[in-house]
Symmetry: C2
């Protein structure tokens, strides 16, 4: 089998586009229907996609009017989606900032059991003031401190996932033994922020343990990805930038003693698909025209940590502070700043550019053109695959699955059938070997 690319579907309400739910191609009430999300999972599975994914935040945010995400919590929602699918991977975002390692490791392990080994965790550190205020903090904990906590959190969580050996569950009715206690281990984690004895109260899953995903592109974020992530969601706007990011994260992984092939780089794309390029661009424009600048200005203000609500729409951005002064999401800040500077955008144009993909790359074209674009990035070494962010749902996902995926398959770039049953399997990572099995193997060698 030739080298193939990987595809994740980023599911955001009725679409990734800011104004998706105002467009006639969507049904706004779907944001309240669990059946809508179950159907999206089935569509992704029909397309043999590696996984589906939900973003998350721990606050309603400054734009209640537009926060159509404020309905379901991702892990509970993915559990409901797991039981109507058999193969597609299920990735939830969850915060290391405002959880306990035992609780969160357990939720993911439980989802991993429910789904037969298809769970993944997109690790975020939670960088907004609104989130901090829901957990007793006057302000956002500082950026480096958040990453230090995240590292200790992941160390404890992965140790918990490893605390049961693969063959610990005995289920011997004759002798009356459910699990062999000699194969279930305390972890005795003693760190600066957490003390966790273990073991977890969930056995290992069909994939060993959940997949680790990460999306931060700040300096700390990239280093964290190199150390822990098995898949990286990233916003890259050109092949040269994508290649640079790709090389950098793979090098960081190698620097942490890992095989660079064990961390997959998946840039985001927002595809507008139509029979002709003109029709696709018209479709994109329809969505852009539905953006309300006043709401978007508030979103942009939050992204930049700068009040722009009285700033004239047709002027360029005011000068922005250096990234070191940003406590919140540094990668998003940097992206917006670079985009505005490079393309000399007015605030209005910046809002339109961000509205489609929230900073990710929009491609409007025919299925062939989109497949060409993905192939070019993949073959240039700028991507191991893509985080596909349909601008409207379910239509945008259906079109991608029914029109773009078959072209990638015909070119030998994407699987035509699942060959694996687990999320780690789809990403070519194989079953995870727990630390106790590693110790046993080393002792036997």
């Amino acid at each position: 089998m030739s080298h193939q690319l990987h595809l994740n579907a980023f599911l955001m309400g009725v679409g990734h586009h800011e104004a998706a739910w105002r467009h006639p191609r969507t049904e706004a009430r779907n944001v309240l229907r669990v059946g809508h999300f179950q159907e999206l999972a089935r569509i992704a599975e029909r397309g043999k996609l590696d996984s589906v994914f939900f973003a998350d935040g721990l606050a309603v945010g400054p734009r209640i009017e537009r926060n159509t995400q404020a309905v379901f919590e991702p892990i509970t929602l993915l559990s409901a989606m797991a039981v109507v699918t058999e193969r597609v991977g299920l990735i939830a975002t969850a915060s290391t900032g405002y959880n306990e390692p035992y609780n969160l490791a357990r939720k993911f392990a439980s989802l991993d059991q429910i789904s037969g080994g298809r769970a993944g965790w997109n690790i975020v550190t939670s960088g907004t003031a609104d989130e901090a205020a829901n957990f007793g903090y006057d302000q956002v904990p500082d950026h480096d401190g958040r990453y230090e906590r995240a590292a200790e959190f992941v160390d404890a969580a992965t140790a918990l996932w490893d605390s049961w050996e693969d063959d610990a569950v005995v289920l011997d009715a004759e002798t009356g033994v459910f699990a062999d206690p000699s194969k279930v281990h305390t972890i005795d984690h003693h760190g600066d922020r957490f003390q966790v004895r273990g073991p977890l109260n969930v056995p290992r899953s069909a994939q060993g343990r959940p997949l680790l995903v990460q999306a931060g592109s700040s300096t700390s974020g990239k280093d964290f990805a190199g150390r822990y992530a098995e898949a990286v969601f990233t916003a890259q706007r050109s092949i040269p930038e994508g290649r640079e990011f790709y090389r950098e994260v793979k090098a960081l992984a190698a620097g942490h003693g890992r095989d660079p092939g064990d961390v997959l780089i998946l840039p985001g794309i927002v595809p507008f698909i139509a029979e002709t390029e003109e029709a696709a661009k018209r479709l994109e424009q329809e969505f852009t025209d539905l953006i309300s600048p006043e709401y978007s200005l508030r979103q942009l203000s939050q992204m930049l940590g700068l009040d722009l609500t009285d700033h004239p729409l047709d002027a360029p951005l005011p000068p922005l502070p250096p990234i070191e002064q940003i406590r919140g999401n540094q990668s998003r800040y940097q992206l917006v700043k670079e985009l505005a500077a490079r393309e000399s955008l007015t605030v209005r144009s910046l809002i339109a550019a961000l509205g489609g993909g929230r900073g990710h790359r929009t491609i409007a074209g025919t299925p062939e053109q989109i497949a060409d674009d993905l192939q070019a990035w993949f073959e240039a070494g700028a991507a191991d695959g893509f985080n596909v962010m349909p601008p409207y749902l379910p239509g945008g996902l259906i079109d991608f699955v029914d029109q773009v995926v078959p072209i990638l398959q015909a070119r030998g770039l994407f699987r035509t059938e699942y060959t694996e049953r687990t999320l780690r399997g789809h990403y070519g990572l194989g079953r995870h070997t727990g630390r106790f099995a590693q110790v046993a193997a080393a002792a036997g060698a």
Copy 2:
């Protein structure tokens, strides 16, 4: 419609009996299968039961060999059960000791959305040393302190559930408004243990907010139930004791300014059902004979906080310390102590008595006898209904639903069809009115 009783099914792995999974009537591997639990939910719904329920703990516990519960986390599991049922209520146990109010309120609110208003929360304070060690505590936080934390936790969580008014979700594609920000409120909770600004990022559900359940029977536990609980799971071994507990909790509720009818008392029962009383008792004995005393001694030691593993099986219990010295689960301690004292049990007999129901009342008899027993308790004012703990699953639940429920229905004691769609509705509580709607109503009056 005459006054009717309520029925909850306590689902524990392949049965509530200690040795259930060793008996030929069960399939031990079912403890690992989400499909098993989905089937149990369907059976409960076929029987028109009010709800199903999972216990929970945040540690694997001292008896890994026997802890068949250590597979799924209840909320994720109930989410997978919600989507294969339409009516039955879904109650999960969760700890106020080792969670944050925002996170837990959100998980339940999300389950409530996924299930269309069928979620309930059994509030526990987590009283074991094994749990404490997974969250950075050297020992179990003291009993009163746990209840103080629980009270503040529930205050914050219920405020979060009320933070959206009923008509806050607008979903107006024309104007581009998802929610009306004037109807989504911060809660600004400032307490000794928690600071939570809110609002929650989940709207109100079909039942307003999740049902609150409680199961502690210590002095603090009963007061807590009187203050907050809408349903109480309790272990009561005789009608006089049941009546006393019933009167006490209802009076406590009245003392907190509540309608005593808004807190339902549901004692636990473990039914062994067969065509004759003799056959039912033989069936019970088969299960008792499968108990391994050495494992049960460890469980008993944990319940009492006293190492009994070297104590002779055929001697009575050693003298037990006064309840005030118990940091852990005081209600379970008191129950075991009283049971041992009243019936002058040897340790072996105590283990057998506890093995069936872990302290709850076992009834072995014909379907008629079991229905008679439940009716007697109900009509004596000792119960508003029952927490049914099938000793083996699914068989014990199937027999209860197919053989006992029809008798209760024929006597007019139990619904023959669901008349409501929500858990609160089943329990006769009506939709919960949020505090902002209450304020508005008061202002309008």
